[in-house]
């Protein structure tokens, strides 16, 4: 058999769009509280905050309504419903927030490069090579 038979997939690093990852730095008031609550939500498979994974794209609070825009690492993510529900519940813990909605975005596409340095450190501790 030729060596081609043992070809492997090369996972190239994606590019990081400017202003990503978003971590809530500089957020104030209820928005800061939502970011803090989202920090407590971990990926279902790895003990890393979804904020450090770079999955949260935007948080806004308008009156008593919070909106979170987030992405998924993978389109086939079987934990989509569970994760969006965790995010919604986390957003509801901020003071004054009565309603929370979560929308999934795929642009810009997520890549490992969007993980924060702290997140990468935790992934390494977990045993992943990043």
């Amino acid at each position: 058999m030729s060596s081609d038979a043992c070809a492997y997939t090369d996972y190239e690093d994606g590019e990081v769009p400017t202003a990503f990852p978003r971590t809530g730095e500089g957020a104030t008031g209820a928005e800061a509280e939502v970011w803090a609550a989202l920090r407590e939500v971990e990926d279902p498979e790895m003990p890393v905050s979804i904020v450090d994974l770079g999955l949260i794209y935007d948080v806004s609070v308008d009156g008593d309504e919070a909106r979170v825009e987030m992405t998924l690492t993978y389109t086939g993510c079987p934990a989509k419903d569970m994760l969006t529900n965790d995010v919604r519940c986390a957003a509801l813990t901020a003071s004054g927030v009565q309603v929370a909605s979560v929308s999934i975005q795929y642009s810009p596409p997520w890549s490992v490069e969007m993980v924060t340095d702290a997140g990468k450190e935790q992934l390494r501790e977990f045993g992943l090579s990043v």
Binding site: M1, D4, A5, T9, T75, G76, Y106, S107, P109
Partner: protein
């Protein structure tokens, strides 16, 4: 139907039905590695189907039973290529099917990168990123399968059987003109088909596999895109909706032993 809605059905149905056929290999694929690889590809395709079905829900008000569980099988618009039953144990069939499909899928997605319907354009890069591996997988298997005469014959038989059905990937739905006019897709099916032929014919040829002349190919009567399908589809639809029907959502729940 809105043009973007029509294109979403083409995209979603193709991916969903292809994934259904892939999953039939689970625990039966030739090696544990190929089993895992195909299961992973199936999960990707289900994920992509969900991306497109989600948009149909968000933008056009459908719900999941409308789109899958309670939809008339004659309203599905996937290509007949993806619905055909895999001949028992015929790995070459699945490899060839995946190859022909994935080559067309890349071209179609490229033609959607600048879609006038932004939610589609937004999702394309993520999907393209996940599709690359599918083509690599199919081609590495084709290279191996055409390495010996016996298995090359199987590949040839699969190409002979599947090629006419692959042509239906480029068959129009009734909404095709509107899809182009509205700029939902930037290239016509005829253009995509030409690029696809320019890619797959020389490649298969280089492996010693002959591709029928597209002009001489007898098109299958059901085209898929117009809702006409082979019997294989109606059987598959019956199978994947069986659990949903058995759950009997329209019946009130009964306690076990009630009315016993």
């Amino acid at each position: 139907m809105e043009p973007a809605e029509a294109e979403l059905f083409r995209l979603a149905d193709d991916e969903y039905v292809l994934a259904e056929r892939y999953t039939e290999w689970q625990i039966y694929a030739p090696t544990p590695e190929s089993d895992l690889a195909l299961a992973n590809i199936a999960q990707d395709e289900f994920g992509h189907a969900r991306l497109w079905y989600d948009l149909l829900e968000e933008e056009y008000g459908y719900d999941e039973p409308d789109l899958l569980w309670e939809r008339d099988p004659a309203d599905f618009v996937h290509s007949t290529l993806v619905e055909l039953e895999t001949p028992e144990g015929d790995w070459a069939d699945t490899v060839v099917r995946g190859y022909l499909y994935d080559a067309a899928e890349r071209l179609r997605l490229e033609a959607l990168e600048d879609s006038s319907f932004e939610p589609i354009a937004d999702r394309v890069p993520k999907v393209q990123g996940e599709e690359e591996y599918h083509r690599e997988h199919a081609q590495s298997w084709l290279d191996r399968l055409t390495d010996s005469a016996d298995s090359r014959e199987r590949v040839q038989a699969a190409v002979d059987q599947l090629f006419p059905h692959a042509m239906t990937l480029f068959a129009p739905t009734v909404d095709e003109d509107e899809i182009l006019d509205a700029g939902v897709r930037s290239r016509s099916l005829a253009d995509l088909r030409e690029d696809w032929l320019d890619e797959v014919v020389p490649y298969l040829d280089s492996l010693g596999v002959a591709v029928p002349d597209p002009e001489d190919v007898v098109r299958p009567e059901p085209l898929g895109r117009d809702g006409s399908h082979t019997d294989d589809w109606f059987d598959l639809h019956d199978e994947f909706t069986a659990s949903y029907r058995e759950l009997g959502f329209d019946e009130p729940a009964e306690l076990r032993g009630e009315n016993a």
